[in-house]
């Protein structure tokens, strides 16, 4: 029999996302992990700029609204001054990988003991679906109207793979998805691993989440989930790229 998931205490208020969007699931999973790890009153949600900024209205916990792309830098300071507090940078692909790539890379490179969750929906959602660093080859957006031409715009960035292979000190790196119950359960394990790594002072942890953006992709929620499974996952494989070392 399926287990009923209990609504985490910190998510009392309604947060509005588009039907089919993955952010609601990710916020819920993060909150569940926080509660299950006993960190409800020991967490700072540091939220970047995108649709998910709306989440800050609905989360009953310490939270901060960072400038666009800069959440990893503010999180660095939060952690240094509150070393026992769980610090979460919640960002999107445009925020973390485009405008904030300098801060994202540098924070991973310094091996700051924080957790970065990047929700990758292959476009800038909040401004209406422009090309981002993770827009797939040929994908049509409002700034790649004929489809992304990788000959002139480069290939989509694989940030988790970059961190896992180039920053040997990083504690935990994974990519998950929200498109099926099985994927949601796996994603929750990834998020929990990342938080545990941070709480054990193991170092930088990163979980990227492939998330549908039906509104900007011009799809129904179901079509957009199919696109994640059948198209995006072929370029962005799921899994753990850096596992925690057993200490």
């Amino acid at each position: 029999m399926a287990k009923k998931r209990k609504l985490p205490e910190m998510l009392g208020k309604q947060i509005s996302f588009c039907p089919g969007c993955g952010h609601g699931v990710v916020v819920r999973l993060i909150a569940e992990c926080i509660e299950e790890l006993g960190q409800t009153n020991n967490v700072i949600w540091n939220i970047g700029v995108g649709c998910y900024s709306l989440a800050s209205i609905g989360i009953n916990a310490d939270k901060f609204d960072s400038l666009h792309g800069k959440a990893s830098a503010t999180s660095t300071a939060f952690k240094k001054l509150n070393p026992d507090t769980l610090i979460i940078s919640y960002q999107g692909d445009g925020d973390a990988y485009n405008i904030g790539i300098g801060e994202s890379i540098s924070t991973a490179y310094r091996n700051e003991n924080i957790t970065v969750i990047t929700v990758n929906n292959t476009n800038y959602g909040m401004t209406g679906g422009q090309m981002s660093a993770t827009t797939l080859p040929g994908q049509m957006t409002t700034t790649s109207p004929k489809g992304r031409d990788c000959a002139t715009t480069g290939m989509p960035i694989k940030f988790p793979e970059l961190v896992a292979t180039q920053f040997p000190n990083a504690a935990y790196v994974a990519r998950g998805s929200v498109t099926s119950p099985a994927n949601v359960n796996k994603l929750k394990k990834y998020i929990k691993n990342a938080f545990e790594a941070q709480l054990n002072n193991e170092g930088y942890s990163l979980v990227e989440v492939l998330s549908p953006c039906p509104t900007n992709w011009g799809m129904t929620p179901l079509q957009s989930h199919d696109r994640v499974d059948n198209e995006i996952m072929t370029y962005y494989p799921l899994g753990e790229f850096k596992k925690r070392e057993v200490k």
Binding site: I57, A73, K80, L81, T85, G102, E103
Partner: protein
Amino acid sequence: MGDMIKGNHAIAEAALRAGAEFYAGYPITPSTEIVEYLSERMPELGRVFIQAESEGASINMVIGASASGARCFTASSSVGMTLKQEGISHLADMNLPFLAVNVTRYGNGLGTLDTGQSDYNRDTRGGGSGDYRNIVLSPSGLQEAVDLVGLAFDLADKYRVGAILHTEAALGQMMEPCDMPEFREVKRREDGINGDYTIKNRVSPLTADRRKEAIELKERYEIIKANEQRWEEGYLEDADYVIVAYGLAGRSAMGAVEQIRAEGHKVGFIRPITLWPFPEKAFSKVNPNVKGYISVEENALGQMVDDIALTLKKYKNSSTPIYCLAYAFGIPTMKKIKEDFLRINAGELKEVY
């Protein structure tokens, strides 16, 4: 009298003694000795030091530190301060106090490494996008710089605004004897967050009443303008001419005033210590029959001269001529200021206003 110490070191040490718990910065001439000094000194004292990857990252780290309630600061120079402006605007939006030390260098873009005052307009007008101000304090010597650092932190906390210590290249690089203040307790502000969610009424930018906030901010700035103007003055009551200058130009001007008076000319001076709020009150003491004001600046266009004009428009006779001796960069010598005063006195130079 204290030991000789280099300007940038003195400012860094003064900040730690004022209870600064957190610093993030990036190297840039002529402020680099600050980040170097702190890299050794802060771990020694158990404080948090971060050499950030960029000026932008460092001000965003300061944002996180101030949101945590810590006394925090950063330092840079002119073009580096430009890169921090987005963060400084965000700090203003969030009512988060901080100190930024600007060891200015003259010029546009990358600029020069020369001492100069070309950032006056930027620093006194807020600097980034938006509708805000920071308290800007400008020392003319190292003891004053040390004293202003502690004051800057206290004013920032008191009014929930940013504070800029607006110093300059030569002041950062030179040495003078300084008495250092005693160490103050390191403590967090009560409004800082630490994850325990005891402050439940924090206002998110997404739900804030922006109109109400804007009006409250304006009212707060009016209180700052009323209470926090600071300046040094001399010989205003009988002055035929009043020289206005700040920083090292101000120090030079004060020396020039002594020399000019020794030759029988009635000259006074105002040396603004707060560049914002501009010390308008100082002008109320000036001889009602003054023949002119002279702004002495280390820039080419003349920037503070506009604030003198605005002050006269508001409080005095706005038809009094205002001259500007804008020396581009470098500290004007007393001799040069005296010579140029004599030209103004002889009617050889045209007023700006």
